[in-house]
Structures are given as C-alpha cells and as structure tokens.
Amino acid sequence: MKKGLLRVTFLGLSVLSMVSHAFNPIEYANRAQCALDSKNPSLSTWMIIDTYNAQKMAYNYAVSSRQNPSSWVNKASVEYRIAITQLSLSIMNKILKGDLPLLPTDLNNKSGRLLNYQNIIKKCQNILQCEELDNYLSQLRQASEIDNFDKKLQVISKVDNFQSTDFIFQKKSPLSCYLVKDFSALQGHLEKAKPNAGDIELIAKAWLDQKKYITNCFSQDEKADQQNFLLQIDLNIQNLDWNRVGFDFWNTTKILTSWAWRKTSSLKQVSQTFHHLFKSTVLEESMMLIPNGCRSLTPPSCSEETLSENSIRELAKMESGNLEHFSRIPLGPEKKLVQASPPQVNSDILDFGKFENLSSWTSHFRKNLISARGLSKNRIQNGLQLMERISQNISLESLNERLLRLIELAQMNNSQAKKVLHTTCQELRLAFDSRFNFHSQDIETAFKSPVLEKINQKTDRSIKSIYSYAQQAGNLVLSHCDQASDKRLTEVDSEILKKTDYRPWAQHILFEGQPVEPMQEEERKPFDKSQMSLLWNPSVSHIEDNTLCYDQVDCLRSLVESAVEIRAAVQYASAFLKNTGEVLSSSMINPYSELMACQIYDPWIMSRRSIQNLVKDTINTVLFGWNYFPVYLDFTKGIPKVTSLEKIVEEGTLKFAPKFQNPQMQSQLLLDFGPLVGVPCSLAISNGPGAAAQMSQLPYYLTGVTVNYCDSKGQLDNKAENASTVRSEPQQNSNKCMGCTIGLVSAESVISFYNSKAVAPIKFSVQVFKTISNFLSARKDTVNIPARAQVNPEYAARVFQQYSTIPDQCVDQVSRGLACFQNLCAAQSAHEFERRTGLKVKNSTIVPRNGEFSHENSIENYAYIESDLCDGEIRFSVNCMGPENVNFDFRNLMSFEKNCQSKISQLKQELNL
C-alpha cells in the first residue's frame, strides 16, 4: 500500500436509494433581498461537471491501445459524470444523516472548539499535499463507519473536540438531484424578482412537461453534448436551523469530496471501467458548485479569494471577449468591484437566455473558464521560469555595461540606440517606476501574494529573490534612463518609432484602443549584433524556441514583461489556481454577494430612506403642517447618520428660513428635536373598523407622532408626541427601542381636533397626504426594498391542472410557495400537512373554532383536509395570526369519517404524536 493512499471503502449505501424526487421551491428575490440572502447558506446548488479531462484521457488511451476512440470517449464521459455525482451525493448524505461531522468554515473563531482542524487547515492551505489533513479526514471517515452514535462521538472526540452539535441528523434523506437538460421556467428566478400569474403558469407547464427539462441525475440518456452537465441538488431540510450549519455543510462536502476522490477506494465503487484512470484526474478542474439563487455556499467575505471566485460569473456571459481575466493589464477584482455600476440580479445576468440551449451555455462557460485558468497558470509558470533563468544568467554588471554602451552610441547620435533606450525606458517607467506608480505597486503586491508561492513548483530561487533581482535591475535601468532623458538621449523621431517596437503589454497601455501586435523576433535582436543570447538549453542544437532573449536589454524587457504578466495572472489566481483539495464554488448568480461583504451595497438603504423620509415628513407635517412655522428638516443629503441635532444644525441639514436664523431658534429646536433625529420608524395604521381594507381611501390623518427612542445604553424610552413634548419613560419593551409609531385615524375624527386649533387644516391634510403617499410609493420600490417570493412547481402545476390557468386569487398563495385553497390559512395548513406527512392534499378549508372566522386575528380555527390518507376529511387546529405567523396543532388530529379514524391513529404514531 502506498503511503498516504488509504484504500478504504467510503460510500456504503446505494446512492440511488438516498435521492428523492422533491424539487425545492423556486426562490425569487429582488436586488435588496438577494443581497441579504447572500449571507445565508443555500439549500439548492448547481453542480457543473465538465468531463473533458476524462474524455481526453480516454481518447489518448484509445489511440495508444489502438481502439475506437469515440466509443471510449462516450463511455468515459458518462461514467465520469456519474462517478462524480455519486461520490458527492454519498458524502452529502453521510453528513446529513450524522455519520460525518461538520467541518467549520470559520477558521478565525477564537472560541472555536475544533482547534486541531483549524490548525491543520491553516498549516495546509499553502501546500499542495498535506499528510496531516489526510490523516485527520481519514480518522473522521473511520469513525463514520461506527453505527452507534455515542461510540462514534467517543471515538471522534479523540480526533478533535467534536460534540453532538457538530452533527446533522436528518431522519429522511433530504437530498434530491436532477440533471438539468435545458433551461425553462424552473429557473424563472433568474429573470424575475416576483412571479406573476403568467410566470407561474409557465412554471406549471414546465413542471408538467418536465421530461423535456429535467431528468434523473443518473440518467444515461443519449444527449447531444456529452461533455458538460448541469445538475441541480436540492436539500429539503427538516427541523434544523440551516443558517447555523449550512455553510459548514457545504465546506465539509467540498473538502471531503476532493479527499475521497484521491485518497479512498470509493472511486472503485462508482466507476467500474475507468476507476484506475479517473483516480488520476484533477477533480477540481472537472466540477464546480454554484448556489442556485441568491444564497451562498461559502460565507461571503471581502477577500481576494471571494472576489476572484465570484468574478468567474463574467466568463459565463456571451460577450466575454474583452474580459478582465484575459486582459494584459486587468484592473483587478477590487477596483472592478468599486468602478462597476450596480449590477442587476433579476435580468439573466449569466446570459442563459442568449444561448440556444443549456448545453451551449455550459460549453461556452467551461471553455472560457478553462482558457482563463490555463492562461493564468501559464502566465505565472512561464513568467517565473523566465525570470529565474534571466536573474541567474544576466548579472547587474553586464546589464550596466550594455546600458552604458547604448548611451555611448546614443551620444554619437545613433538613432537605433536612442530608439532602444526610448522604448526600454518607457516600459520600465510603466512597470517599475514607483514615482509614476502605473503598475509598480500592483506588481510588488502580486509578488508578495501567497498564491504565487503556492503555484510555484519549479523554480529553485525563491519568489522573493527573483523579484528582488527584478527590482534591482529595474532601478539600475531607471537611473540610466533619468540621466539619458536629461541629456535628451531618449528622444526619438516619431517617424521611426513603430507600435511593434514596444512589447505587447506596453502597446496595450500606450496605444489604448488599438489592436495589440506581437513584437517580431527580428526586432528584438540587438541592432549592433555584438552581443550574446540567452538560451534555454545550450546543448540542444535546435535553435527555434531555444532562445530566451537576445542581449541584456532584451532580457530585461522580457523580465519586465513576465512581471507584468504575473501581476495580471495573480489578480484572479485564487479562483483559477485553487489548491487541489477543495472543490471550487462561486456565487455566480448573486453579484451582490461581494458587494454586501465589502459593504458597498446596503440592502436596507431604501427601506431606511423611506422610513427616514416618513419620519422627516411626518415630523414636519405635525409640527409645521398646521401653521406657518418656517422650519423644515432636510434629510436628502444621502442617508443621515445623525447623532445629535447640534450636528445636523452645523451640517446645514436642518434648515431655517433666513429671517428666522438666530441662535435662540436653534437652541429651542435642539431641545425639541434632540431625541427625534435619525430614528427609524414603523408605520402603524390605527385600527378603525376595517381600517386595513380602507387603506386606499386616504387621506388618513395623524393623531401625532410617537417616537420610541433609546439612549445609547438602551435604558430609556423617550416618547415625543409632538415637537415640544418629549418625555422619558423606563423602557418596558426592548422592541420599541429605536422605533417610532405614527398613529393614523380617519379624517372625520381628527379634522375637528385641528379645526379647534384654528390653524391651517387644509395645509396640514395636504401635507399628511403627501407624506403618506411618498412613504407608500417608496415602499413599493420593487428593487431596493427587500422582497421575496417562492413558487413550488408541483403546487403551481396542481393549480394549473385544476383551473387550466392561474387565477388571480391564487397568485398570492402560490407566490408564497403554497398551493391554492380557500384562503391563505387553508393553503398554509395544507402545506404543513403535506410537509409533515408526505401525503398529497386535495382540498383544505378553514372553519372557525368558535363559529367566528378570522384570518387576521389570533382566533383558533380548524383546518379540514382531504388527502391521500383516506376518503373523507380530517381535522386539526390551526391558529392563523398573520401571513408569517401560523401555528398548527396536530395533536388533536381527528376525523368524523370512520374510514379515516384508523388511518389517523397510524399517522399519529408515525408522527410521534
């Protein structure tokens, strides 16, 4: 047995038996919600599998062994895809049923218990092979074979400080897996923030015609493209706080899949014919995970790694010709992030719709990804190899001599020497001159990147010493350039200077917008033909491709070019050159993932702005709407973050009509407004009979503003009922802290009040109307106020089958991930019943328990359900207190139908009731 290569079984159960056919609801989110969701772990992921490596290997094998390549290629492709799928799903299943523990994503958690794991990962993150990690994972695997959990925990806690909370226990496998054959309305969330009846109908039709769009993950149907596959893996998690464990689940899956592929004999179980060959494949080149929607697989962070991984989404776009990843002088992910305009999230950002079908999209994306990765790797490897060879062969002394010779020739007015000096100095200034800082800082940063050390396998000299040589050589040349420039020896007649006298990277900068042309080999050779060449291998007689560079100056320019290329590659290297040992994942669908992490986008900004505007307008209205007091608050200078009124007076945010600008006024206002500013406020509409239904019948008028405001210690509850009445009360309810309520009553009850004040009621009512109207309009911002919806395709299909369309009254229920019944409460009850029992509900009605039905208030109702359980209705209690607040009580599950009663007893037993 080879050291470090554990020939162990890892899979156990048949994968087919652990995969269900549930399809997670399609989750819609607008921009602000999508940004918020990025902080939560995904329950659905796409797995892109590219079988090119397996195909290429099988092709070579077939050619070598004189067999038919095409049959081998096809067979290898199918087997490879199924092997990856089976292995990944098996590992997910083992984690979900509590065989394997969760490995944390947060390595910097000082209170983290798994210190061995944290230390090993930190130690191993910059090395290609890590025996300690292999051993650690191997011990976890061995413990996973123990059936008894207590014993398992006992064994595993010796590996690290694992506790039962580090395990997930899902009784029933929550996994489902589909091979996506083509895009359809089942990916409708990529194009819409909220579905309408038409969208739901399309989903229903796609679901009913699903054979066209999705199939079983392990399907071996003949398919036009046998190279690129997109799988959708859904998790139907029950009774678990997924936000607590989700990221760790994906982290564990990614690490263990890579490990098991190489270090266990699992492959033998999932690939009968090719497992010997597949073991040699670079799994991470063949698969990647993309969260299906706005949620993430890894916690978003404002790091080089996250930014470059997420930049991969650009490679999916149809117009990917001028991509940063292929540019000689890329901006880099950080600058790109700041400079780019706010992206859309519900506008098919990955351009699926622009491609003929899914296959052509995945093929295009993978081709770009592989090209970008190859380019990135070659730039770094070739660049370092060349820089090392030059640094070891061209001494600074000989470089100095050559430069002195060129200067001497230039002084003799040799135009060729002047041209060489001119172009060399310009290139050096662009790359290495810190006084101009075009790229010198970026290049220095790139050479300090740990990614570079990780990739470098071939150079004997350290990256640091190679870069140190480059810097010294650069400084030497620049000092000569300064002197030559002072003596006007670098001035060249523009007529003899061609674009191709510069290296391509310099052309890219100096001739912006023009096509870059390669520098001809002849143009690189020294004009005085008196120098040396630097060869890769002096003993090889083949001339072509054996020369690194001609003369010291050409070598220096090649060195600079390599440094620039390396700098370009390092920008995105974290994504492309990820260490083997962890599957790549990228939040491709959600561009706000990194914008949130880097705090560039604030999903609450519009909510806060609308609320702040409401506070501002309401206060203005209440205080000044009924008289002619010439003061108004202006919060329009962005989102105010005001800590004191004094500050807003100083900043000019609080404005006065000129004639009232005096210190007395200001201090009076300070007194009155102090507690009010910057307080977020919620709108509470006073409940007159049927108030909610009459929302559209504005105007509603204010009875006053009540602002609950805590001081910095959160101890006081200040209430301001108008500008001059601010009183403090002990805080009784922490929920009130930092909030305000605005009481609205109908016009009739308040008009008399204001009339009695003999002020300006018309002005007041107009202003109130404007205030409320502005607020309601702002809250209708469908992009920037967080909003979500979800559609269960199966439910949508049921509604469509029942009505042959999606009736308007069903849109709300179906958009909440429910089927359509009597009302929302009935739909929620049906959904809960199906979720708990797995039985299909045919009808659901709500009957009030005490004879008086109410959905809005907390009056208990009975849900009467007709289902596959039995012929007849069964009943349980339900307490529908609002759309998001429903309680079910299955303990009193019963039926008046005889044929249902025995089934209910059985069901209760199954549900442990």
Binding site: K2, K3, G4, L5, N53, A54, K56, M57, A58, N60, Y61, V63, S64, S65, Q67, L128, Q129, E131, D134, R262, K268, Q272, T273, F274, H275, H276, L277, F278, K279, S280, T281, V282, E285, S286, I370, R373, K377, Q381, Q385, R389, Q392, N393, Q457, K458, K529, S530, Q531, M532, S533, L534, L535, W536, N537, P538, S539, V540, H542, N546, L548, T580
Partner: protein, 189 residues
Amino acid sequence: MKPFILIFLGILIRVQAFNVNIQYGFDSSGAINRSISITCEDPESDFCLKECGMKSCLVNEPPCINCSGSNSEILNIIFSKISRFYQVAKSSYVNKKAFLELIKEQKVILLDSQSPFNFFTNIAENQSLDEFNKLCPFMATQAWVVLRLDSFGFPDQPIALICENKDLKQSVYVLEELPKTPHLKYNLN
C-alpha cells in the same frame, strides 16, 4: 539535484538486459488498466530472470494523482519543453536493479507522446516525441520519460528517458536538471 540521482549515480549505460513497454488491458474486475511490461531481451541474462522471476513481468502502473488535467507544471514541462529544463546526464550509471525496483514498487510511471496524461501537445502529430528526441542521442522512433511519483502519488521528477530505435532496441538514460547557469551564447562576429 534530487535524491533520485543517488540511485542513478554513475555513468550512462545502455540497459541491454530488458525492454520495457506499456500494455493495455483489463484487471480482474473489468476495469481498464495500464501496465508496464518488462521483457528480458537476452533470455540468457540471469539478471532479468532473477528480478522478474520469468522472461517477462507485468507491473500495474500506479495512479498518478492530478496527472489527468492541465494542472501539473511538471507534466507541462515534460510533454512540451523538457529539453529546456532537463538533459541527459553525461556521466551516469543506470542501476538496472534499482530501476526495476522502482517499476515494481509502483514508484514511477512511463510517459510517452500518446500518454493518457498528455494534455499539452498534439498526440496525433506526436509532438512530444519530437521534444523527447531533442534529448535522445539518436532519432528514436519511440521514447518514454520515466516519471517518479512522490509519496502521495503526485508527479515529482522525470528521472530517466528510454529511447527506442527502429530495431526496437532500447536505451535508458538518466535525466538531470539543466544547471540554471550559464546559458549564455556569445556571438563571435
């Protein structure tokens, strides 16, 4: 360079005692398999018989972790530019016994131009054979680079080159890294 040189210390010698080749087939479970076959060239040579136990022996090639893909820098160098970084050792001795041991212990794999791991050059045009031929002392019709694997099964270093002439005669040469300096060629004019 690397520790392997210690094994291959000495002077260059053609290995006359046996020929190596790649065989393709299936293992007992029906999985396709690559094996290195060692055939005694001279049946009278007791060395080969002693080491193999018979006139020929077959050793399964070990997996080469991360070799199938474009990830490995060393494979890129071997297939597309080995002559830039390696040379045939001018004075080296091939320890035949040690060489056979390496194969038998599954510590090496053989890479030819059409290897399953060649993701770097056009196999139909045998481009890598042209590259290998820059190092073979004669125009080989077939050549294999002997790649040593590290203790994890990852590719480590090319350690030898087997060149085969048109008469199917094989010679093994020790490979060593080119000294990094000096590589300067001065124009005489």
